[in-house]
């Protein structure tokens, strides 16, 4: 569904991503792991259209979306929940969710999707009139994921959904992500610091270090790989 070929992304003169290639097949939960500063977020931002790559190709569902702006990319169903969540702090939870369905194709189904999201996250329903900026970290993360779901994605990209959360919350979030795949058949690409848990729920994974993809394989194989131990022990 998503194919990234030999991508290169620069921050000014500095190459943050080099010759990166990843694939996500429909229905898969793919993990992207690596140390801080490896370029994972940069890669995702280039895929979703927030950054323009300097070289390489990005293909989604057969479409060449290289260099497409973010607004167009999500029209195709590629939805990115960014690191830092990207919420609108002075708007209510409800408004944040409604804006998630901004695209025409999502807007017609807004009421139905809203109900689904509230079923998934009852806490959000309770706090629907609260300003997003006043929510706790865990609730904000739920809101961010919920907002992503409002766009009725085909591929949902989650960048560090567990960042800053307590271990229990991080666990719950990742379990929820797994349910999104198993119960709703969503395709997911997830970056997380919780490497062990992520590899446990993922089908396939890529390892990224200093801008390059240094390893890949079925998640179960990577867990037992000694090199991987070095990566996630070094985290």
């Amino acid at each position: 569904m998503l194919e990234v070929r030999d991508l290169a992304v620069y921050y000014g003169p500095f190459p943050a991503v080099r010759e990166a290639s990843i694939r996500v097949e429909p229905g898969q939960l793919v993990g992207l792991v690596g140390p801080n500063g490896a370029g994972k977020t940069t890669l995702l931002r280039a895929v979703s259209g927030l950054l323009k790559p300097a070289a390489g190709r990005i293909l989604f569902d057969g479409f060449d979306i290289t260099g497409w702006p973010a607004e167009r990319v999500c029209e195709l169903g590629l939805v990115h929940v960014p690191e830092g969540r990207g919420l609108f702090p002075r708007l209510t939870v409800l408004d944040n969710l409604r804006l998630g369905a901004y695209l025409p194709r999502a807007r017609v189904e807004m009421d139905r999707t809203l109900k689904e999201v509230f079923d998934l996250f009852p806490r959000l329903h309770e706090r629907r009139r609260q300003l997003a900026g006043t929510l706790s970290g865990g609730e904000q993360q739920m809101l961010a994921i919920g907002r992503g779901l409002m766009a009725r994605p085909r591929l949902l990209i989650l960048d560090e959904p567990t960042l800053g959360l307590s271990p229990r919350l991080a666990y719950e979030i990742l379990e929820l992500v797994k349910r999104l795949k198993t119960e709703r058949g969503l395709t997911l690409l997830v970056v997380s610091q919780e490497v062990l848990h992520l590899l446990n729920i993922a089908d396939y994974a890529f390892v990224m270090e200093t801008g390059r993809i240094t390893a890949e394989g079925p998640a179960s194989a990577l867990i037992s790989d000694p090199k991987m131990r070095q990566v996630y022990v070094g985290l």
């Binding site: 620069y10 921050y11 000014g12 003169p13 323009k52 300097a54």
Partner: protein, 320 residues
């Protein structure tokens, strides 16, 4: 500064100084005097505005403080501004030191607007203080000498002051102070982190710049034989002086000179042939334009010069 450039500057200075001996029309002397004044104003503004990037909209406040200082010294103590103008500079510098501390801690446009407000407020205070002449202003006695000599003396004085400010700016540019100021302009947070005392440097630049501007103001009042809030806290002067610096390029000392010369000539030409409003409209348009060329004319010239050098391979990686 290169040997050739230094010689050239000296030549120009000597020629300019000798100019009055050619019995030119008084108008030419007056025009050049005002042009030198703007060179001096733009140059002293640049020390804070160009090097540190702190664009002051209200520098004319210091100009006015200097003018009023020498005017009062003349009226109450009988001292000629031709001698006391440095005192005008000192008062302006002291004033800057007084208000400077909270003001230099402001960022970007807030700093600019606050400086504008300072000019306005000082103007208002003066307007409402009868001892300072109030709204009617102060009339200064005309120096007792033939007009040609009068104009020539002011010509030389302004030329001197222009040279002094150019020297000051050039000195700052090549000093550690200048380096620090430019670091502040590039990225103040980084400069702070690198251990530069940004507040102190900005304050020094402000005080120096204000003092030089005050000196110029001290002469101007006497030149006009009249100081009033309108004349010396004139927002047109305020905008013109930084426009000239921005236009010519305020990263290096030759910039404001270039800007002042070109815009003075342009302004005068338009005023004489079409009208004052058209001249100001032209200035306004230049201000709009200048935003797209933040390094000014000098910046453009530099870019052309660099791209002509044979050693340049014409490549840095495609910018994102």
């Amino acid at each position: 500064m290169g040997r050739r450039a230094a010689l050239l500057s000296l030549l120009v200075a000597v020629l300019l100084a000798a100019f009055p001996y050619s019995a030119p029309p008084l108008y030419a002397l007056s025009f050049l005097t005002v042009m030198f004044m703007y060179i001096a104003l733009a140059e002293s503004w640049t020390i804070l505005g160009g090097y540190a990037g702190y664009v002051s909209f209200g520098h004319v406040a210091f100009f006015g403080v200097g003018a009023y200082t020498t005017a009062l010294l003349l009226l109450h103590l009988g001292l000629s501004p031709l001698i006391t103008f440095p005192v005008g500079g000192l008062t302006a510098a002291a004033f800057a030191a007084l208000v400077g501390y909270p003001v230099v801690r402001l960022q970007g446009p807030f700093f600019s607007i606050v400086t504008l407000l300072i000019a306005l407020l000082v103007g208002l205070v003066v307007k409402n203080t009868p001892a300072l002449g109030g709204t009617t202003g102060l009339w200064l006695p005309f120096p007792d000498m033939p007009i040609e000599l009068n104009r020539t003396i002011f010509y030389w004085l302004m030329l001197l002051v222009a040279a002094v400010t150019i020297g000051a700016a050039a000195w700052v540019e090549n000093s550690k102070l200048g380096l620090g100021l430019m670091a502040i302009r590039q990225n103040e947070a980084v400069a702070e982190a690198a251990g530069i005392n940004t507040v102190r440097l900005k304050l020094i630049a402000l005080i120096l710049s204000a003092g030089l501007t005050g000196m110029v103001g001290g002469i101007y009042g006497y030149l006009r034989s009249y100081v009033s809030p309108e004349i010396v806290f004139d927002l047109n002067i305020a905008v013109t002086l930084f426009l000239m610096a921005l236009f010519g390029g305020c990263r290096r000392w030759p910039g404001p000179v270039l800007g002042a010369v070109i815009l003075s000539v342009l302004g005068e030409f338009l005023t004489l042939n079409i009208g004052e409003e058209i001249a100001r409209i032209a200035y306004g348009l230049c201000l709009v334009l200048v935003v797209f060329f933040p390094d000014g004319l000098i910046g453009l010239v530099d870019k052309v010069r660099i791209s002509r050098k044979p050693a340049y391979k014409g490549g840095h990686a495609a910018e994102r």
